[in-house]
């Protein structure tokens, strides 16, 4: 190894580049920019304004923040549902007037004033909701007009009744406490806002109505098609916003003990700026209460800070305009380009040096030497199938295979001309196995481990395993469950090939070469899944040894086969039995003569082996070229290899023409025939084996004569 190569190995294997991409997949990264803005805002104004952090100053400024936050949370609900509510400013003012009128003019208790405020908000919100939800008016313009109407009504009320309010002498301790008091430094508005924030957060993220709101905002048409009452949901979002603004209006009424011409003026533009600056998307579906809290603090601190620092008329509007424009542009550009950034950064190749291998060239004399034996097979389902990754035969000789359409197809014995869709699982059924009750078990790509009964009923057995403490992407979820086999005690051993990529991106995992494949076990007795082994380069085929005391599993991108011991002195450990093969191994299955069949999905090439030693090259390739032009492992030639339990290679078969079975991902021996499948093939091949036991079947080998 040259020094340069060693440097590369250190650089790419020790520096965890992949973490950046994984962090970017997290939705909370959307909050990073608003959070930074929050820190900067507080930092700048906190230092510029003397006494900003003094308890009394904080108490007074947070009082206003509480009211404002309540309004913003209501607006957030509307925005998440895909609308906008400009009328909050008027609702806020009218609700404040309602409270003040009830308290000072009619001299009723504070509770009634609260009810009056909330009722005002609810009625106003319901009007907006009816117009926009049921009459399907444009949200922005409609609430703009109701804002003006509300403001006109408020102005009329203030002109006519303002003096009555000022002359009143009504007072109440409760009213004063809400306006002035505090529980150990927390004023009533702040406590209310925090409670509302928690309730709203839980409701939006954990409740059915909350999900409906997000669904309607995310895609109105899809929400309608999936049975959500879109109009009612939109209506309710405006009612909620009205309620929030109404309650906030009550709070300011208590604080100011009155209502003046300026109450709630321009609140709508402040609130919208807050919601958008926090990172809530216009158009709905993306956003959170946490974002709104950040946005509200930023906007209010900036707004009040500019006033306290003595900047003249107009400065606030100028800054608000800039903030609103910048936040909207950032939001829209980020939403549009996020996946591009992610695509650029996510692939983080590492250095890997493949071992020297024996030749697979025909007639080279090595055990791996390819021949043309499976070029001429009898085709089953030619043209009807797309992507039979694995094939399996039951005790009645029927043949099952998965397809990329998420179906399991059954071909009927004896001639396999007729077929039916046995079950629909969704996803992409990959590895198959038959248990002792003749159920079909399948690793469904991108979904998990599934059991299909003889009647075709699909049941999910496992979709997650234990999560490791250091993972950033959710490695509890099964992203690429690939192959499985069943131990004599009924436990199901299966592989999850990678935690970095979804099932359909398996080829990109080969570019990266990061060892994240796992061997897992599902225990039907407890229903739990555990991770047994980790850090393999694309863990693939699994096969129980003939004696049931160990299992073999393939590590595709490392071209190795490992043996994991279930019993005996080495129980719980794995050892490598075959290394440095010339092909990439896929599924492994039992052979009738006590050996094992292994599929090669493709052959190593010197060029790709070289590329694996140059992670920088692969990184540049993944950033600068379209995926069609990347250098991938060769999958144009595959093969079938028979090996003994000790790792000795018995024989190798191939299709040098590439016409019948270029990429082989599985093969299954049954009554003297070998059935060959390929994930990118459109057929299953049936090959007559010489010297094979014509009575041997898989189910009998696993479960004995009784099945």
């Amino acid at each position: 190894m040259t020094f340069h190569e060693r440097l590369q190995a250190w650089r790419y294997n020790l520096v965890p580049d992949h973490i950046i991409g994984e962090i970017l997949t997290k939705r909370w990264t959307d909050n990073a920019i608003p959070f930074l803005a929050l820190l900067v805002t507080i930092g700048v104004f906190g230092t510029a304004i003397p006494g900003f952090f003094e308890p009394f100053s904080l108490l007074e400024s947070t009082r206003q923040l509480g009211e404002f936050l309540i309004v913003v949370i209501g607006l957030t609900v509307v925005m998440l549902a895909g609308g906008i509510d400009l009328a909050v400013g008027s609702i806020f003012a009218l609700a404040a007037f309602a409270a003040v009128a009830v308290f000072f003019i009619f001299e009723l208790p504070t509770g009634v004033a609260l009810l009056a405020s909330i009722a005002t908000g609810a009625v106003f919100g319901a009007i907006n909701g009816y117009l926009i939800g049921y009459l399907r008016l444009r949200a922005f313009l409609t609430t703009l007009v109701t804002l003006v109407i509300g403001r006109a009504i408020y102005d009329i009320l203030i002109v006519n009744y303002g003096s009555l309010i000022q002359m009143s002498s009504a007072s109440s301790d409760v009213w004063d406490f809400i306006g002035d008091g505090a529980f150990s430094g927390f004023s009533v508005p702040v406590i209310s806002a925090l409670v509302l924030a928690v309730v709203a957060h839980v409701a939006l993220t954990r409740s059915r109505p909350g999900w409906h709101i997000l669904a309607v905002g995310g895609s109105r048409r899809s929400a309608h098609n999936s049975g959500i009452k879109v109009r009612q949901t939109v209506f309710m979002s405006y009612v909620i916003s009205g309620l929030c603004a109404g309650f906030a209006g009550f709070l300011i009424a208590c604080r100011l003990s009155g209502a003046g011409p300026g109450t709630g003026l321009n609140m709508e533009i402040l609130a919208i700026t807050a919601a958008v600056v926090g990172g809530n998307s216009l158009g709905g579906g993306r956003g959170s209460v946490a974002k709104s809290i950040m946005g509200a603090i930023i906007v209010l601190v900036m707004n009040n800070g500019l006033i306290r620092l003595g900047y003249g008329t107009g400065t606030n509007q100028m800054v608000l305009g800039i903030m609103l424009a910048a936040a909207v542009i950032l939001d829209i550009r980020w939403l549009k380009n996020r996946h591009k950034v992610l695509n650029e950064l996510y692939v983080a190749p590492i250095y890997h040096r493949m071992g020297e291998t024996q030749s697979a060239v025909p007639d080279s004399g090595t055990p791996y030497a390819l021949n043309n034996r499976i070029a001429h097979t009898e085709y089953i389902g030619l043209g009807e199938l797309e992507g039979p990754e694995d094939v399996v035969l039951d005790k009645d000789d029927h043949l099952y295979c998965g397809t990329r359409h998420g179906e399991i197809v059954r071909f009927f014995a004896p001639d396999y001309k007729r077929s039916e869709i046995f079950a629909h699982t969704g996803g992409f059924p990959l590895g198959l196995a038959i248990d002792k009750d003749s159920n079909i078990l399948s690793c469904v790509g991108a979904m998990g481990l599934y059991r299909i009964s003889q009647k075709g009923e699909v049941k999910q057995l496992s979709a997650e395993t234990n999560r490791s403490y250091t993972s950033i992407v959710d490695d509890a979820r099964l992203r690429d469950p690939n192959d499985l086999d069943i131990a004599p005690d009924g436990k199901i051993y299966f592989t999850d090939s990678t935690t970095r990529y979804d099932a359909h991106d398996w080829a990109i995992d080969s570019i990266e070469g990061r060892p994240t494949g796992r061997l897992l076990v599902f225990d039907p007795a407890t229903g739990e899944t555990r991770t047994l082994l980790d850090n393999y380069r694309y863990a693939n085929g699994v096969c129980m040894a003939h004696d049931g005391k160990s299992l073999f599993f393939a590590e595709s991108w490392a071209c190795r086969v490992h043996r994991y011991w279930l019993e005996g002195p080495k129980a719980g450990t794995a050892e490598c039995v075959i290394k440095d093969m010339p092909g990439y191994p896929d599924n492994i299955n039992r052979a009738s003569d006590g050996n094992y069949w292994m599929a090669w999905l493709g052959m190593r090439t010197p060029s790709f082996d070289l590329a694996l030693r140059h992670p920088g090259f692969r990184k540049r390739m993944s950033r600068r070229l379209p995926q069609d032009e990347w250098l991938f492992p060769n999958i144009n030639t595959g093969g079938v290899v028979k090996f003994a339990g000790d790792g000795r290679i018995v024989e190798t078969m191939g299709d040098l023409t590439g016409n019948s079975h270029p990429m082989v991902t599985s093969m299954r021996e049954h009554k003297g025939y070998l059935y060959v499948g390929g994930i990118l093939n459109n057929r299953i091949g049936r090959y007559k084996l010489e010297n094979a036991d014509p009575a041997w079947t898989g189910p009998r080998s696993y479960w004995g004569a009784r099945t």
Binding site: G82, G83, I84, L131, L135, R136, L137, R138, A139, F140, L141, T142, L144, V145, T146, V148, I149, R151, A152, I153, D155, I156, V159, S219, R220, R221, I269, I272, V276, S281, L282, G283, G284, Y311, G312, T313, G314, T315, N316, Q317, M318, V319, L320, G321, I322, L324, A325, V328, I329, I332, R333, K336
Partner: protein, 331 residues
Amino acid sequence: MAGLQAAGIFRQGFWSQERIVLGLSALLFLVSAIALPGFAEPANLISIVRSVSVLGLLAVGMAIVIIGRGIDLAAVAIMAMSAAWYLQMLNDGWSEAAAFAIALAAVLAIGLVNGFLIAYADVPAIFATLASGSFVFGFVRSQLITQDAIPVPAGHWLEQLGGVRILDIPAEVFIFGGACFVAYLFLRFTKWGRYVYFMGDNLMAARNIGIPVRPMNMLRYVLSAVIALAAGLLTASSLHSMNTRIVNSTLLYDIILVVVIGGIGLSGGKGGMRNVIGGAILIGIMLNAMTIIDIPNIYQNLIKSTVLLIAIIVDSLLNPRDEQTAQQGDI
């Protein structure tokens, strides 16, 4: 049957919004003429048209934007602040040419920025113009001018323009009429004018047939901004000053009211200058009648905004939103 066919006004589809507005205007005119003393006098009629000429001029710009499926909420801010800054520069002793050139350049720039945000940064028009309107007001008020109202310098041509009469009709009326005529020629007989309709009808289809939709989008906001400057100068000429507090008034909603009530659908692609004139006349009669009856300003606001709400509801019933061409986030 022949009798029914002849009675065309009962035919379905006859009552388009435009005809309803004309009918309403006529009705309102008749009722006002009979009920209100002094309403039908020529002087009052002239003052009606004169009172809506600034509003109508702004509505011409807004109509061009809305027909292309957009909206310009910055129009009033641009109008008031560009004119105020222009007057401020004159008062500060700048030469006429320099002050005008700078004001015009600023207005073009803000129109370009609006258009850029909407066409290239994909910001919804309402937000882009809401933000830019807030910025324009804030920036000019805090940085460029010294007080809320800026007077027209004595002897300036704007002062004289306010007094010009042709055949006893104030010059504003001709300016409004001329703007309508030019905009009519632009929309009907120029390629770029036709593009406005195509883009308002279906932006993606317009893009697919090769219309340069992004530059054309910018053009509309630039036109709207330039018209706003003209409206600002006109206001200054008739009031002899520019009061920037007008930005906080309901003028913006009055403009939208004129356009929508005239029958230009907010979903774009429909309407023309006839609708602007119709809407402006109806609103002019309404405002004039309310003033003669002596309804206080705050009640007038309530009535106008309620009428606008009704107009929007009727608009949404007559021109229902097309869910197929409406875009996600098109609020």
